[in-house]
């Protein structure tokens, strides 16, 4: 689960990290009221979307008066923001964060995340922060220092002092930075985060540190023991997910809507990715990504398929199912049978089933009156589904 900037900043402040004063607002009036309460001489109005590179996308605006804050909020609220990190679909702006504009002397970069391969927690830092840090790191212009950390009991341990001294350069700043890094580590473990990134971590004109932005991702698998954070889950809707994608989750199905015509029904994430590749290779465009989880019942599958069949762009269905030890083909066949009876539309269906109970599944499909083309080879199945969609469109 990704946190919005305003949530992340509140969370980090509770761990002693310095953040600008600010308030979140969901309407123009409230943004103005927030600005008047804050009473700053300069403001920043920031679109609250769950992705980075907002500045280049126009999602960060500056203002000097509450009236200008209202103007900025008016432009941002209700708009759709597209940045390099949102994907082409962009993200709807339903809230802005109004905060004090900090006068910056220099910008640092700090983050704590997982190094997946070594299975360790790693802190990353650079003496030069900013949105273009990836490009600068790739070009070798900016050095990213790494500090591997260990969990000991309820603490993350590491030599934050030495690491801070390397980044800060100047002694006065190093002590403050070491405290920030220690608090960052405590927040990471305390919240079961998988990412906390502060970019930039500003050094103000008065020599103080301040987190101007914060990206926090919480491990969904740990929400069972973080009740306070679990409550945020209902508010933090994935920017990219539409309603059908969220609904599918409740049916034990990972579903992502795409722009194409071939409806894909697949079990297992790897097989789903491979099926997607085969459809594109055959010249088609998948209408979705679907991974039926092993825990899905036939009724779940029927409901998930229902979501797919509601999408009027879908012109043919490609079912590629490999029955494993936990999810058998006949369960999925039954789900297809129920979904097609409810669908109230007919379209070409190409079915390839293999593995556990594949033959029995064909009987189940026939007993349910499903009209379909049966294909043994999945690449061939993809080609036939693409061709069928083409003929439907014609």
């Amino acid at each position: 689960m990704d946190l919005h900037e305003h949530q992340a900043k509140r969370l980090l402040a509770a761990y002693g990290l310095p953040v600008p004063i600010g308030e979140v607002a969901t309407s123009v009036d409230r943004a103005g009221q927030a600005a008047r309460r804050l009473g700053c001489s300069e403001f920043v109005v920031k679109a609250q979307v769950l992705a980075g590179d907002r500045k280049a996308g126009g999602g960060i605006r500056f203002a000097s008066t509450p009236a200008e804050v209202e103007d900025a909020a008016r432009k941002l609220l209700g708009s759709r923001l597209v940045t390099r990190q949102t994907g082409a679909r962009g993200a709807d702006v339903s809230a802005v964060h109004v905060e004090e504009r900090i006068t910056v002397a220099r910008n640092l970069y700090v983050a704590i995340t997982l190094d997946k391969l070594s299975g360790t927690i790693v802190m990353l830092a650079s003496a030069k922060g900013g949105d273009d840090i990836e490009e600068r790191a790739a070009d070798g212009d900016t050095i990213i220092a790494r500090l591997p950390l260990r969990i000991e009991g309820t603490r993350i341990v590491g030599n934050f002092e030495a690491f801070a001294a390397r980044i800060a350069g100047e002694e006065r700043l190093a002590a403050g930075l070491a405290t920030v890094l220690g608090n960052l580590a405590a927040a990471f473990l305390g919240c079961d985060a998988t990412l906390i990134e502060i970019n930039p971590l500003a050094v103000t004109d008065r020599g103080r540190l301040c987190a101007l932005d914060a990206k926090v991702t919480i491990d969904d698998n740990a929400l069972f023991r973080r009740a306070d954070l679990a409550d945020l889950k209902t508010h933090n809707v994935d920017v990219a997910a539409d309603a059908s994608e969220r609904e599918a989750q409740s049916f034990q199905i990972n579903y992502m809507k795409l722009e194409g015509e071939i409806g894909c029904v697949v079990n297992g994430a790897g097989l789903a990715l491979a099926t997607h590749d085969l459809v594109v290779d055959a010249g088609g465009r998948p209408a979705n990504f679907m991974d039926i989880r092993t825990t899905a019942s036939s009724l779940d599958i029927a409901k998930g398929l229902g979501l797919l069949l509601q999408n009027r762009s879908v012109r043919s269905l490609l079912v590629n199912v490999h029955g494993g030890g936990m999810q058998r083909c006949d369960t999925i066949a039954e789900g297809i049978g129920i979904a097609m009876r409810r669908a109230g539309r007919s379209l070409p269906i190409v079915i390839r089933m293999a593995g556990n109970n594949a033959r029995f599944a064909e009987t189940v499909l026939r007993n349910n009156g499903v009209v379909y083309t049966s294909v043994d080879d999945m690449a061939e199945a993809a080609r036939i589904a693409v061709e069928a969609a083409r003929q439907e469109a014609a």
Partner: protein, 291 residues
């Protein structure tokens, strides 16, 4: 023979009396796996599936000589179960459990460091050595004893490639699912290395997918070790739409790796035959062996 398991491997199951564990243990027993004990804290002294149940891993190991464990413990207790297995100095742990908090896995990796234990998973379908035994939840209907080793990040594509290698008349020496979680035990490249050293494996199939950098590590391994057997790889997700990202740290930790194109290029440079068509992996291996 196979990697990781032998006909003499004695296995215990942690979380033995749960519903899924009971179902899969019964299947493993009928497949001929030497499952000899179960471990469930508080249920020691009972019997389940005609096998003795113990309170601790150490007690089960002491009484039965089992040195491998299949872990079916719910996510909130799974890390503790793995660490118990590591502290009891088992040779092999296979963890099937999904949705374990990732920081728990960081603790498990710390416990694995310097231990004698090998961990497969979590979120793994397990290990299948056709004709020898099964430590996991995969279907066995299409598997046949043979000489192809399969190291995989995907359970569903493993089933698929098992079917293809059987259809191609090759069969499998062992299949290993390294697990779908970001932090796990045995890496894909470590699994490939075991197959390189296995005299019963004539060819290796690597099943990868987008994300992470395990395929790149396989390529790096093969740059340092000349493979004396053909290696065929499948990388799923060549046409997957780019994912939304949060910040820069992900890219900074992996150095921009992770795309299918990057993985395929790295593998091909290392001499791996990359099958573009997921339905032709078995056939591609048969052709490679005939060369």
């Amino acid at each position: 023979m196979a990697i990781l398991v032998t006909p003499d491997t004695k296995v215990m199951c942690q979380g033995f009396t749960g519903r899924a564990a009971t179902f899969h243990c019964a299947r493993m027993l009928s497949y001929g796996t030497k499952l000899v004990a179960g471990v469930v804290p508080g249920k020691g002294g009972r019997s389940h599936l005609d096998l003795p149940v113990f309170d601790t891993v150490a007690a089960a190991k002491e009484a039965t000589g089992a040195a491998a464990s299949l872990i079916f413990v719910p996510p909130e207790h799974a890390a503790a179960a793995m660490i118990e297995g590591i502290e009891a100095e088992l040779d092999l742990l296979v963890c099937v459990t999904e949705r374990i908090p990732v920081l728990d896995m960081v603790r498990v990796r710390q416990a694995l460091n310097g231990s004698k234990t090998r961990l497969i998973g979590p979120n793994s379908q397990g290990i299948l050595a056709p004709g020898i035994g099964q430590l996991g939840v995969m279907s066995t209907v299409d598997a046949r004893p043979g000489r192809i080793g399969i190291a995989s990040r995907s359970a569903s594509l493993t089933s698929e490639v098992v079917l293809q290698t059987t259809t191609a008349g090759l069969g499998q020496s062992t299949t290993v699912g390294v697990g779908g979680d970001p932090v796990h035990g045995l890496s894909l490249s470590a699994a490939v290395e075991l197959f390189l050293d296995d005299p019963a494996t004539d060819g290796i199939i690597v099943i990868g997918e987008i994300g992470g950098n395990e395929e790149e590590e396989v390529a790096a391994l093969l740059q340092t070790r000349q493979a004396a057997k053909p290696i065929v790889a499948l990388v799923a997700g060549r046409h997957a739409p780019p994912e939304r990202r949060m910040g820069h740290a992900g890219a900074l930790t992996t150095g921009g790796r992770g795309s299918a194109a990057h993985k395929i290029a790295a593998l091909e440079t290392a001499g791996v035959i990359v099958a573009r068509d997921a339905s032709r992996v078995g056939q591609t291996m048969r052709e490679a062996l005939a060369r």
